[in-house]
């Protein structure tokens, strides 16, 4: 696989700045808020795994609601480079008017970069697929796929080990056509 630095995606030299840019892209690529910070973190986690180099950039950790990135959390709450980019409304996150301007500038600046365009499309796909899940449904899918992140988690027990809860969540995902009956059949 071709290696490239994270910076080469967006031509920036600061890791914090790059994290903020990823957040702006993730929140801006769909014109609707992301319902919780948990959703933002997990969607960013998946996006980071698409690109090996950014997986290290975000430093996702095993955490009580892990996977969790302190850097992404800090950037979302108080961005250093893109001030007032994010709006928080009843726990949901979206871009502010300034954030939307940053988003369009970033897209315009990188429009001829095929890697950037691919990452942006994938961010849009991730938003489309995961925004609509409840926090518990999203947590179930993440913990079943990346079980190493159940370590230190204080929600994985309720989701994976509480049989009734687990069964209801699986049924809900199946009824929505998100997974099929065999997804966790080896359990």
């Amino acid at each position: 696989m071709k290696e490239s630095s994270p910076q080469s995606d967006f031509m920036q030299d600061s890791q914090v700045e790059l994290v903020e840019e990823y957040l702006i892209l993730l929140l801006g690529v769909v014109d609707a808020p992301v319902q919780t910070k948990f959703h933002v973190e997990k969607e960013l986690f998946l996006l980071s795994k698409v690109n090996d180099t950014t997986e290290n950039l975000f430093q996702f950790q095993k955490h009580y609601e892990g996977p969790y990135s302190q850097l992404a959390d800090d950037s979302l709450e108080s961005p250093l480079y893109y001030g007032k980019a994010f709006d928080k409304n009843y726990g949901a996150f979206s871009l502010s008017a300034a954030g939307k301007e940053y988003y369009f500038k970033l897209v315009k600046k990188n429009k001829s970069n095929p890697r950037f365009s691919a990452i942006l499309s994938i961010a849009q796909l991730i938003r489309g697929l995961y925004d609509k899940l409840s926090k518990e449904e999203l947590a179930l899918l993440i913990y079943k796929t990346y079980p190493e992140y159940t370590k230190y988690s204080n929600i994985s027990g309720e989701i994976l080990d509480n049989k009734k809860n687990y069964s209801n969540l699986v049924k809900s995902l199946i009824s929505k056509g998100i997974i099929n009956e065999n997804r966790f059949s080896h359990d």
Binding site: S4, V50, N51, D52, S117, I119, I122, G128, T145, G177
Partner: protein, 191 residues
């Protein structure tokens, strides 16, 4: 020497099952070569890896067709679908095809493009979860049908023979789709 030339301006992404269909089930790689050389077939990384396990077939594709190896840009395209289908190797190629198809349809919306996916589970997922994409999705039999009805690459008689073979094989197909297609072929393309 590569047979034929590209005359149809359409990018095609196909899952491994499409290639295997011609090699193993139809035993007619000549048709596969002809089809590939008349479209812009792109071969994504995981599908290429899966095909490379079948050395002779892969060598034939490399030597006889104009298939383009897809530049994966250093990205792991199958990742966004892993939580829905698992992280294992099985089905990874299909996940990659779906995500790549999404990227291609977003980045170049005006380009002629389709993707071929046979797994009914994955097809259902695209249909229900990625609504904008399913209009670009085909299965191997319907693509073969299009090669006859839309592009005149294969005669109706040859196509009917191929579809009959598939119907009696263990290749996973939707019988209704194949029956409808055969009916259309018998009616000279009319529904």
């Amino acid at each position: 020497m590569k047979i034929g030339f590209r005359m149809i301006d359409k990018i095609v992404l196909a899952d491994t099952s499409f290639y295997i269909c011609f090699f193993k089930y139809l035993k007619q790689p000549d048709y596969l070569i002809k089809i590939i050389n008349n479209f812009k077939f792109h071969l994504p990384g995981i599908v290429k890896k899966e095909l490379r396990f079948k050395e002779d077939e892969y060598a034939l594709l490399k030597s006889e067709t104009s298939i383009t190896e897809f530049d994966d840009l250093g990205l792991n395209f199958s990742v966004p679908l892993e939580p829905f289908f698992g992280k294992g190797q099985v089905g990874k190629g299909e996940n990659e095809i779906i995500v790549l198809a999404y990227v291609l349809s977003s980045v170049t919306p005006d380009t002629g493009f389709c993707f071929i996916l046979d797994d009914p589970l994955k097809r259902k997922f695209v249909f229900r979860q990625i609504k904008g994409l399913y209009t670009k999705m085909m299965c191997t039999p319907s693509f073969i049908g299009d090669c006859c009805l839309e592009h005149n690459l294969i005669s109706p008689e040859e196509t009917l023979l191929m579809l009959s073979k598939l119907k009696t094989s263990t290749f996973g197909i939707d019988i209704k789709v194949v029956d409808d297609l055969m009916e259309r072929l018998r009616n000279n393309g009319k529904n």
